[in-house]
């Protein structure tokens, strides 16, 4: 409990920056560095140095040392712990189309503590096939399988029109967190976490910044 309460108190913004810190720290460690300053991290990642120090203060068990900076090995261990990369969580994926297959086949999730244990699709010709060692089951198996495997995270990569039904099935099975790649506005109970991976929103923000940049040059 103490541990969970600790995790819950970290802001969303800070948590979101952790993976970038982790990547950079690992790079530096590989390059043989032992310590690093907040200034250097900030410069490399395009952040403010105070922000970096605050972020690190929240997640780290050890303080930085004036003149020296932070111990890289310590920080890496702390971030791994905070992000839960030390222990693996099971997930299921629904929608074995192009994106779904890409995600199931992505080796990188192992480093993020995520393990996809089963995939589902409505298309008869996909059922029974395997992608990267993960078997594809029929959509009607979602509820019983999620229950049986006791899975808490579901990934949705189906077309827009099916996303809500899939989400409902996942939740009926016991899923409590949904990673939604479908361009759909899911309506869900408040005790289920959602992260919408809204490509249209990302692209809109990128396009706006591009317009600003091109406009500033004129």
């Amino acid at each position: 409990m103490g541990n969970n309460r600790e995790v819950a108190s970290i802001s969303k913004a800070t948590i979101g920056r952790m993976p970038a810190y982790l990547r950079y720290l690992k790079e530096q460690e590989k390059a043989g560095e032992k310590t690093i300053s907040s200034t250097q991290i900030a410069e490399e990642l395009g952040l403010n140095a105070v922000q970096v120090r605050k972020d690190l203060a929240v997640i780290s068990t050890v303080a930085g040392k004036p003149k020296l900076g932070f111990e890289i090995g310590e920080l890496i261990a702390d971030i791994n712990r905070i992000l839960g990369y030390d222990n693996v969580t099971d997930a299921v994926l629904v929608g074995a189309g192009g994106l779904g297959r890409a995600l199931v086949g992505y080796e990188g999730f192992k480093n993020y503590g995520l393990n996809i244990v089963a995939a589902f699709d409505a298309a008869a010709e996909l059922i029974g096939r395997e992608i990267g060692g993960v078997r594809i089951y029929g959509a009607e198996e979602i509820v019983p399988m999620v229950k049986r495997l006791n899975v808490r995270i579901g990934i949705i990569t189906v077309p827009q029109g099916e996303a809500q039904r899939v989400a409902d099935a996942l939740i009926e099975g016991g899923v409590r967190a949904i990673w939604n790649f479908a361009p759909a506005n899911l309506v869900l109970p408040s005790n289920v976490a959602v992260k919408n991976e809204d490509m249209a929103a990302s692209l809109a923000i990128l396009s706006m910044r591009l317009a600003e940049i091109l406009n500033n040059e004129k």
Copy 2:
């Protein structure tokens, strides 16, 4: 210029919500509705009604009417215009692995005004092949092709270690906006827009919310 300046003044948060509004409004239009209230939109999308009204005030040319609400057709037209969905922008994609192929093959981008005109990969066995009508070229073609096609948006779906080199090549060719799906911290000139699609960050935020929810129940 007036038009661009207008676009530039809209906040990132507001722009990011537009695609969700658009999807919901289109649904309602299809269902035969003519007008809609900010309250209804807010409820459906899990937002605050004042926030919805402020967002709509920023992008719309017409005001809502007390008692009636907003005209759905108007709003759809306004959002399409603001997001630039009326005219198509060309882009190139580098990295024809699982994720890259999924993105190139995704029909939905057409609705978002994005048109992928060429793909690149370092793997000899992929070069010359086509995905969804888009041809794959060798990595050494990036600079000349981007120059020739006069493309401003580049999508990166290569492994971490190659991302920086690919970004440099895209920029050398003239790209001014990078949509980065690689788990890498790109270092870029300030006159290039970037949107990092950091899966690890998304997953970290989702996991944290899940932990909070499960913790609250105890």
